[in-house]
Symmetry: C2
Amino acid sequence: MTSLAALKSAAAVSERDMANAIRALAMDSVQKANSGHPGMPMGMADVATVLFGRFINIDPTAPDWPDRDRFVLSAGHGSMLQYALHHLLGYEDMPIEELQRFRQLGSRTAGHPEHGHALGIETTTGPLGQGISTAVGMALAERMLAARYGADLVDHHTYVIAGDGCLQEGISHEAIDLAGHLKLSRLIVFWDDNAISIDGPTSLSTSMDQPARFKAAGWRVQSVDGHDMEAVAAAIEAARRSDRPSLIACRTVIGKGAPNLGGSEKTHGAPLGDAEIAATRQNIGWAHAPFEVPDEILSAWREIAERGRAARRAWERRLAASPAREDFERALSGKLPDAVFEALDAFRREHVEKATKVATRKASEMALAAINGATELTVGGSADLTHSNLTITKGMDRIAPDDYAGRYIHYGIREHGMAAAMNGIALHGGFVPYGGTFLCFADYARGAMRLSALMNQRVVYVMTHDSIGLGEDGPTHQPIEHLAMLRATPNLNVFRPADIIETAECWELALRSETRPSVLVLSRQNLPMLRQAHGHENRSGRGAYVLREPSTHRAVTLIATGSEVEIAVAAAERLEAEHGIAAAIVSMPCWELFEEQDADYRKSVLGSAPRVAVEAAARLGWDRWIGDTGAFVGMTGFGASAPAPDLYKHFGITPEAVAAAALKLII
Amino acid sequence: MTSLAALKSAAAVSERDMANAIRALAMDSVQKANSGHPGMPMGMADVATVLFGRFINIDPTAPDWPDRDRFVLSAGHGSMLQYALHHLLGYEDMPIEELQRFRQLGSRTAGHPEHGHALGIETTTGPLGQGISTAVGMALAERMLAARYGADLVDHHTYVIAGDGCLQEGISHEAIDLAGHLKLSRLIVFWDDNAISIDGPTSLSTSMDQPARFKAAGWRVQSVDGHDMEAVAAAIEAARRSDRPSLIACRTVIGKGAPNLGGSEKTHGAPLGDAEIAATRQNIGWAHAPFEVPDEILSAWREIAERGRAARRAWERRLAASPAREDFERALSGKLPDAVFEALDAFRREHVEKATKVATRKASEMALAAINGATELTVGGSADLTHSNLTITKGMDRIAPDDYAGRYIHYGIREHGMAAAMNGIALHGGFVPYGGTFLCFADYARGAMRLSALMNQRVVYVMTHDSIGLGEDGPTHQPIEHLAMLRATPNLNVFRPADIIETAECWELALRSETRPSVLVLSRQNLPMLRQAHGHENRSGRGAYVLREPSTHRAVTLIATGSEVEIAVAAAERLEAEHGIAAAIVSMPCWELFEEQDADYRKSVLGSAPRVAVEAAARLGWDRWIGDTGAFVGMTGFGASAPAPDLYKHFGITPEAVAAAALKLII
């Protein structure tokens, strides 16, 4: 499609023409799909053309080149902006036919940009505020990787286009504060300031002085006319020289180019309609048929890609010559060294022998010491609960403004921002992020946790204080429904280990799970070591297993997770001692992995005897495992404030209650 | 305990002594409990003393007096500040014995302040940022009620103490922006600026210029030394005269008074220890034994309560003389007029006859028109999705800055802030709030939704676009795990109506549910009317019911909710026509209500034939209803971007698939 003649004439193509190509592709694709959002791509076409045309270094033929600039379309509903750009730049998976199949089953052009679904989509966006917050993690990872490998190998920017929605969402506050604090100068955010949201003018709901707000967070702020390309370019130049993250507030007209609807919320989320599209063609001087881009304009866009390709090749030469090459490539591969898993195996052996009795949050800290000692890829952090989550280990220096050589991030009281930043760190590559908060505050992080799962990212959530076992802090801090919420989430492994051994096993599984995030659900209170011997097999790896098989035929099977396995064991002892009843104990640290086992294994674990499940949480979901004849001992409402042992008694989650439930089933 | 002599000498008591009483009670209670947070109450004791001593109008003997000032301890971990105040002010449920039982089972003094658990706790706090955001709803409700009933009856302030955690959380951004926009001048927030969070100095994680940030949001900002009582008083005076919400940044020392630990994060969340407590007594000149407050100091505090009592009595006289009395009392009672329910009954009759086929979101809009026409207590809104959620009805004027006479709130792109504001509106009294967003973005609102449930508040969440049926927007917008997440939440009714009739029924149930929040889960796509005749009985009220009973003995029972009931009906017809198999259809709009029915009813609905459930969502939880021999047709992973009919086919949620699953069970 790109002829030599076209390449030569590309110089004559104006940036305005190039921007109009985006406008035309966006409005035509949305019209054809009869679904989508033309207003934003048309409004931001000029900014995007300057950004990509003059600044961004990406190579469509090597979309994962590590030192590429990152582009994040935080206002993900404007996906046609990104697809139009990708088509124009020549991504091989984005021929014009894909734009013609916008929002259709099996196309690359999903309603919102989805990481992994089309080349070059750096992160999934759509839920507002996620993109900008994920970008903070990317920009931080860039600085951290640069601290390790130097500017020769790591020297790129993260560019974000965000809309009013992104900036109204609470998560943006967490992200902006963190980025400003850490002086992430390679982060440049364009605010599509079109003064329109879905309900109408933004003045319906906000009076925020956004520039002042960003300045308060330590950002450099510039304001420009988003249709004045030289002004946009000058602002980007200045932003690239800043020692702080930058906001470029771009005053734009939503649906720019549409003569009747431009500037109205009507262009936001619906096709313009044939008449307005025709009028727009006239208005912007775009005489070409739908989905037709003249060769010279296409060539001008492809030249941009050439610039990126040249940059990529120069970088590859630097990498080839670098003494750090091997380390760098290993880090970027995400492969953890065998030493990590050997250390965990040794750890398990040691603590089986010692029968170490600790809280699983403490066990996690101890396992992390082994892990972090064996690799530098792991990067820890907590949402201001470091010494409760026990997420820091010896020798981990903190990441600080202008000092990115450390491995520990004080995320602040920002669960949602932390989760999104971890997504960004994982997506960027070079690190394996984990971060802590209380399980109950998974509520605050839900939006970003879901994206970890949807994007297949290895992000490890360390969530402690996992039940009424946290005691006095009371019902606002005691998770009830959170296990069900997380277990119901697709592509997320929820681990609730019962003792120090399972904790180490679950950590291993989380680290090995390269395309699935994990949640480690950990106790505040001490728990005994329950395993009877060391074996190299990671028993938690099958999701559930028989921890104790009685010497005689099972009369009942007691199933439990985490801190309640101890209770099940005590119940079994009671049943045996007082009633001569043989109870098997099944520990079930990970439902998802158990669900993936073959039917024979599952049957061998669950057995055919009646089952009692015990978990200090909501019942929802447990019927799958206990069946029609089973019983559940757990929570039926919110918790309360009291010392943990009192609460377990008060809510009837005790060996006595489990034994009684078992007896009721048998007799 | 308060003698006349003590009352007389109270004038001689200094405010510093009064503040030290709070300090002593806080440190002693935490020490006795061996659990809790002394740092914040000690740091904010001076501010609280000035605020309560000179300004707040509350009456401990009438804690629910409608025109009282509202006090919200957003930094809820500092609960001992509130309990100490309540004891000193003379709340009857807060004798000294309760402070001695801080954080013990059954005490009033829960770890964090819990609404309904002790008198005068205006809202439950602990999850950071919730208090300040709920207070925005209270302050808005005050203005709205004043617009209806005048300053004679409604004229009070909402005071908030917030910490660094509250202001770092994203929800605070949503709340602050909304409050500034709406010019909620009766809202006064004290920021406990002690520069300490759990991990250490706040400089570990933030560089935010909070005063500048609040100014950017349109707030009046003052900064004072939080231990300079005259400065605090002057700032409150000025704030009360402001035409905008106010932040008073109070520079404080955490654990103020503790000579060695004061100013350190060590005072945040742990007892000071006997030695430091003794040193503190010495340091602040508090010679009294633990839990002993001298009569003159107690009397000084009780005089404050007298001021509130006098204000309350004056208000009662105004109310008695007011022509609006009856209306006002009805509004505050929260009782909806019978006309609402009569209108809904007529609505159902009409649409059964017409067999109206609309999306349930549209049905909700139509039902709302009937409801809002019959009462003025309902106040609607949406997180910038008004014309998608269909939450506005004819004649609803919008709430605007300086104009609070309307009934519709443009909450902006702020799901979490909206949910918290609705909690505040409900807690304040005088209104029944409902608000809309997409079901998927329940993720963003989780923190506050949980508190609706924990606080027994009638808040109605209108959550549309409830499955892959939303189509092209794709997996970021398609709920999968959200029904399980909400159903697992205690004290929350989750309604997923199947047609226009069930939608009206579920609205009725939500409005009648005075101590439980509701979520209405509604379709984007059209759904047929399925009911065969009108009856006065609200069939959704039993949670599930037999929608179609075959004329011959059931061979299979098909259970479904919402948009999948139509699919189940089609499957039943197919089974009958093609295989002569008699299938019953159970519609199950509300699991929670079904769970509450007696066993006989449940059995009669579920039947003894094999069961197939169909729901375009995660399976988790469904095994409870389908049993060991049942089958589930639904989602097994995330959705995709495509037109809805294509997605239903793609994911195999079709009459064919349901019929096939049924056949497999039977044959």
